[in-house]
């Protein structure tokens, strides 16, 4: 009877030795400066246009959005979205709080909001997709399974190691984007208030439950939600890597699913049953920021339940298949 801990340790070391985690860090170190630079250009331009007065900028944003409401060519869903957006901007303006105060923390917050649907799941996949299929491609799976260890323990140790790295990936996204963007925007801004608690019903926003949260707390809450999303994505990618023989195929399957999710959430509001797909439910941080969900009827509880069900099913399938299947190649 071999204890589980050495197995987990072994799997962790394998992930590190394969340098997957370093690749992820490298991707972040290369890409975050690009986003930072783009953001810097945006804020430079608005500084020129609005004489660094954010109130004028927000008011102009409100006016522009109101103008587009009167156009008949804009689909009704976009109008709903813009009405909600206008009401939130108005709330920030009325309470004299700049929603886009440039700082490293604000950048990180926005970066997280934008990357929860695709970018972070992609990073998770980089580790998760070859955990099992990689062993089969190289043939090392036979060595692993000939040892006197139950198969479910082998798989469980892989899963635990994966989940450990999921946490580390989420943390490194936050830290790297804060450190790099801070070089440009400054490292302050942890106590800047952010409003949360916008209750959206139809195209009006109920402001009665809106409250201010310091930005560091907001980041923590975002991190938690992203962690949940990442765990589910990791479980799914893990299942695919158990089912599919080659790593390349496993990555393609997950990529296709994720990209389909972003496309669907942009156009599927008419097809309401799409809300039971995991891909359109990845944007949990949107519930925090008060952005309307892509499909009507989606709430935080709903999205979390959908994600949890998908995650559970993929665990069950992974273990059922892995413990039963003949290892041939």
């Amino acid at each position: 009877m071999i204890n589980l801990l050495p197995l987990i340790r072994n799997e962790c070391l394998k992930i590190i030795k394969k340098k997957r985690f370093y690749v992820i860090l490298l991707i972040l170190v290369v890409l975050v400066p690009m986003f930072t630079y783009a953001q810097m250009r945006i804020s430079e331009r608005s500084r020129d246009k609005f004489n660094s007065d954010w109130r004028l900028e927000i008011q102009q944003q409100i006016t522009d959005n109101q103008n587009s409401l009167s156009s008949d060519r804009i689909p009704e869903e976009w109008k709903t979205y813009r009405r909600i957006f206008v009401q939130q901007l108005q709330y920030y303006l009325d309470h004299n709080v700049n929603p886009n105060e440039p700082s490293g923390v604000t950048f990180t917050r926005e970066f997280l909001d934008n990357s929860v649907n695709l970018f972070i799941p992609l990073l998770i996949m980089a580790v998760a997709s070859d955990l099992v299929s990689g062993e089969r491609t190289t043939g090392t799976i036979k060595m692993l399974l000939t040892r006197p260890v139950r198969r479910w323990k082998v798989l469980l140790s892989k899963l635990v190691a994966l989940l450990m790295f999921v946490s580390l990936i989420v943390l490194s996204v936050v830290i790297i984007s804060y450190l790099i963007s801070g070089l440009v925007f400054g490292y302050k801004g942890f106590n800047v208030p952010v409003f949360t608690g916008f209750q959206i019903s139809g195209d009006t926003v109920d402001m009665s439950t809106v409250h201010a949260v310091p930005q560091w707390k907001y980041l923590l809450m975002q991190g938690g939600l992203i962690w949940f999303v990442s765990v589910v994505v990791a479980l799914l990618a893990f299942m695919v890597s158990v089912l599919v023989r080659s790593t390349a195929a496993s990555i393609v399957v997950m990529m296709a699913a994720l990209i389909a999710g972003t496309i669907l959430s942009n156009m599927a509001s008419a097809w309401t049953t799409a809300k039971y797909l995991f891909m359109v439910n990845l944007g949990l941080t949107g519930y925090l920021a008060g952005t309307p969900a892509p499909i009507e009827g989606m709430t935080l509880t709903f999205s979390m339940a959908v994600l949890a069900v998908w995650g559970l099913i993929s665990i069950i399938i992974s273990f059922a298949v892995f413990t039963k299947r003949d290892i041939l190649n």
Partner: protein
């Protein structure tokens, strides 16, 4: 081997700590979203209010308020008379656009509501020149032309997937409506709402003067967009003239307001200076308006 021992310790401990931290954040976020407790917002947190240094004198700080004309609907460059005025005044020295709060279809009633908004009031306080264009929708609004006129392709929002070409769409509806509604536009119907609308305009001017007593207000007078339709020429002219006279009466009583006439700019040249929706000016039309404004400012 010793190396991997330390790696393992580092990875395991940091990942456990991170997981706990993220789990706390997760629980906190879920409870915050599901059971939000509204509080009298920003009581404990310092609201950051860094106002830029008051702009130096001798600079034109321009702010526009009003309807689709202020917004620049019909101008293919999207500039409208506001941007063109700023560009023209730039030749004199410093000129800056504080903000353009023009909204398609705004009426005098809508303007009064706008003037309550803190953001609009703030922008007005930053300006020393306020360009105001309002009244057209009160006068012609019932004809339904302004509602469907939309933005004549001045900006194409994310609606790239919309199959209809913006310019043609706006143009077609515009022409159709002009012909359809033609018989209903009588001088009486056009003038029916005039006293109330003029009253609201007076109130709006009063409020603008209260919000920023330092600023000079330039009101852009109305022109008759229906001059090219035979049966509308006379009633339209009468209604527009009556409105412009009413506005003149309001503006004459104050020192810091000017009415910029545009009636003569368009009369007889409608085909040259109106955009394809037969209601809003085109780029050249806006250019002529802005030249008038610049002359009034200088």
């Amino acid at each position: 081997m010793n190396d991997s021992k330390w790696t393992w310790r580092l990875v395991s401990l940091s990942s456990i700590a991170t997981t706990i931290l993220l789990l706390v954040g997760f629980i906190y976020a879920v409870s915050d979203i599901l059971y939000p407790k509204g509080e009298a917002a920003v009581t404990s947190l310092p609201a950051e209010t860094q106002t830029p240094a008051a702009a130096s004198g001798g600079e034109y700080r321009i702010m526009a308020l009003g309807d689709s004309l202020a917004k620049g609907t019909g101008d293919n460059t999207g500039n409208g008379f506001v941007k063109r005025t700023v560009d023209g005044l730039l030749q004199d020295g410093k000129a800056r656009l504080v903000g353009n709060m023009g909204i398609n279809g705004l009426t005098t009633a809508g303007l009064l509501e706008k003037l309550q908004e803190e953001g609009v009031r703030y922008a007005m306080r930053q300006a020393n020149i306020i360009l105001l264009s309002i009244g057209g929708n009160d006068l012609f609004g019932d004809s339904g032309i302004l509602d469907t006129g939309g933005d004549g392709g001045a900006e194409i929002p994310e609606g790239a997937s919309v199959p209809v070409l913006p310019g043609t769409a706006a143009g077609d509806t515009g022409t159709d409506l002009t012909e359809e509604e033609a018989p209903e536009l009588t001088p009486e119907s056009l003038l029916a709402g005039l006293p109330e609308a003029a009253g609201r305009l007076g109130e709006a001017l009063q409020r603008i003067a209260e919000i920023n007593p330092e600023a000079h207000i330039y009101y852009v007078g109305l022109y008759n967009p229906f001059g090219d339709v035979q049966e509308l020429l006379v009633p339209g002219n009468q209604a527009v003239t009556a409105w412009n006279n009413a506005v003149m009466d309001l503006i004459n009583t104050r020192g810091n307001m000017t009415l910029v006439p545009t009636f003569d700019l368009f009369g007889g040249h409608l085909d040259k200076y109106l955009s394809s929706d037969h209601f809003h000016p085109n780029g050249d039309g806006y250019q002529r308006i802005s030249e008038r404004i610049i002359q009034a400012v200088r």
